[in-house]
Point group: C2
Chain length 399, copies 2
């Protein structure tokens, strides 16, 4: 199969590319390297060192020959989006090329607009490129469980639910109630994709993904596996990855407020497993399929306690601090989300979260100095209720 | 009061400006004249002749002195949006500055992207300008009843409804199911405004407006009233205005398919009345208020029959033709929408739809030649399922 990965240089993108190559598929990748830039803008860097794309690709070619092609470019340019779809004749397009940080989108007007431009316009260009040049491709779009929000306290269905109102019943999209500009751009994308599938018969799987953590892929032998990036800064470090980074350098685990915020979580390994399953098994009886992609639910407090208990056993002496919550969110709430469809397709968690935390702590240990060097990037400066006046104040190391 | 009207040069904008001046308010207006350009792009022009903005403003100044200020500019530029909000210290901001045509947004990739850029990014800039420079203003945003769609066959509530799911009850936003890119941009806007109101305590009324028709404002004496534009082309002519234009030149009334499409309708006069009421009465016990703004529901078939019967009485010999439906929509469906809130605020229809149709036919009669001249712009070339390859084919008169 031909797999087109949009955002191949990212945390999930680079891991997925290697998995798909390992499975024998041909991989086309694009990236504009914005993640490398935005993490730098936050005054940080990947904890685990990563190669330049040139080196990444030439090492891949040594192992897999010409089964990879990379194009540098930006999806907000229609002609680039069209060209890459024409060139790759993709069976599946995996769209990971979005600005993925809620705090980053909340910095100020400029970052809100950038997030909308990059995500919404890029996604529309891909929809049109498919419609015009590859209408039978399967678009696998990375959305987020955060699109649903946690407001009404309903069991969160997989995209659609049947409700009754004034005596009439119907199956309708779950009303999304996102909590940041970033999350809303994903909702806008989902709505636009749903409309394109309905109007033009395009085929898409919209993934509502939980929060991803972890470093390893099990199957790929370590002598050919090239590590993917691992961020820990306040914008791009996901919560469990950030806790592990904090534990490794002896920094308090920074729990927002009471820490009762409950979400679905998933190991990187299992995110790749799920996306690979979806590639193999496109939707059959529907054009627009929504899946909730996570393994288990945890509260932020639970995770901090897990990292403390595992870290302490490794002699790290982990401390937890309840810090001011920069977000506007409930710190304790009902949360229960369906996640049956991927299990029905064959998904099974590779290992327990405790095992994965142990691996992350081990994998970060050699790079302790890299985290220490950019330690100030962990501290919360972006607040939902006020805006930082410029990036200078976010990044004290910028001249 | 200071009223900032975004899109003051448009069909509703120019009528509203005069009403607000007549009521004694100070009016600040902005426009980038895109509507004049896009109608030209469709190979058409306003049936009723309108003046340049310079002439419009100087005539206004003769009547109302310096109670009007106009700024040419584009809301997609953050600095322009910020500046105009700073300058005008608005009590109310009426946001009419969006690309308002569903067919126009469906032409092709370029027009889809333009509609998203103009509407979504412009709206975000206004939200941020308010947050940063005028957090107590009341944002009155023009959305559309088309945001809801007509899919599930529920009674359409005013924004929110209480539902039960698996034993839990909550009041949630009605799940929107729009039918064109244009309509979806309005949904994206509504979601973004709802989020800003919740996160920052901004105050907004989001108007879900029915389809507007008509030419006249009752109160303003005709010797000071300057006519607003009136479009009849396939993209910018709303259905009843288009039927009246067709009747006047002896063209078949072009009903899409079976004509059972039912929607809420509202006279221009009453749109202005409703917006003026909302300006006077901002939301009190909520930050984000949604109102359904229409007078009565009609099917497209009903309207064609009304125009025929009134036109025939005037000796026009009106014919009706059921043409291929360019849209992807049900041509017969359940439709019932709440519209109580504006009535509770005091809204009462100024006259019957039959009276208004009579006035429109009278007002168009002297401009018959202007409609005849651009008659080809009435014919449907934009289809939901395929894209026209370029605007050249839309507009045969373009060299």
């Amino acid at each position: 199969m031909n797999i087109l990965i949009l955002g191949i240089d990212g945390y999930i993108g680079w891991a997925l590319a290697q998995k798909q190559l390992y499975l024998g598929n041909k991989v086309f990748g694009i990236d504009n390297f914005s993640r490398r830039e935005t993490v730098k803008e936050m005054g940080s860097d990947s904890a685990i060192p990563i190669e330049t794309m040139n080196k990444r690709i030439s090492k891949i070619k040594e192992v897999y020959g010409n089964r990879i092609e990379f194009f540098e470019g930006d999806l907000t340019y229609s002609t680039f989006a069209n060209d890459i779809v024409k060139k790759s004749c993709p069976d599946a397009i995996v769209h990971l090329a979005e600005q993925p940080s809620a705090p980053y989108s909340m910095i100020d007007q400029k970052h809100c607009i950038y997030t909308h431009q990059n995500n919404v316009i890029g996604n529309l260009n891909i929809i049109y490129a498919m419609k015009n040049f590859s209408p039978n491709s399967h678009l696998i779009k990375l959305g987020t469980m955060g699109e649903y929000g946690y407001d009404p306290g309903f069991v969160i269905p997989e995209g659609f639910f049947e409700i009754e109102y004034l005596g009439r019943k119907a199956t309708v999209p779950y009303p999304k109630m996102a909590g940041s500009w970033y999350h809303w751009t994903k909702v806008h994308d989902s709505n636009n994709i749903m409309f394109a599938c309905k109007t033009w018969g395009l085929k898409s799987t919209d993934i509502m993904q939980g929060i991803v953590y972890g470093t390893r892929l099990k199957d790929i032998p370590s002598y050919i596996y090239q590590p993917t990036r691992f961020d820990f800064d306040e914008a791009f470090g996901t919560v469990l990855n950030r806790f592990c980074s904090e534990a490794v350098i002896g920094h308090d685990l920074t729990v927002h407020g009471a820490g009762g915020q409950t979400r679905g979580f998933l190991a990187l390994e299992d995110s790749i497993q799920c996306i690979s399953l979806l590639i193999e098994k496109p939707p059959e009886n529907e054009n627009y399929r929504v899946v909730n992609q996570f393994d288990e639910q945890y509260s932020v407090k639970d995770l901090a306690n897990k990292v403390k208990s595992i870290g302490d056993k490794k002699g790290l002496d982990v401390t937890i601090a309840n810090t001011e919550n920069p977000r506007k969110e409930k710190e304790s709430h009902y949360y229960k989300a369906d996640h049956k469809k991927l299990r029905d397709l064959g998904f099974k968690a590779t290992r327990t979260i405790e095992e994965e935390i142990e691996y992350v702590l081990e994998d970060l240990h050699p790079h302790k100095d890299r985290i220490l060097k950019n330690k100030q990037a962990i501290i919360k400066k972006i607040k939902w209720n006020s805006q930082v006046s410029s990036l200078i104040s976010l990044n004290p190391s910028t001249p």
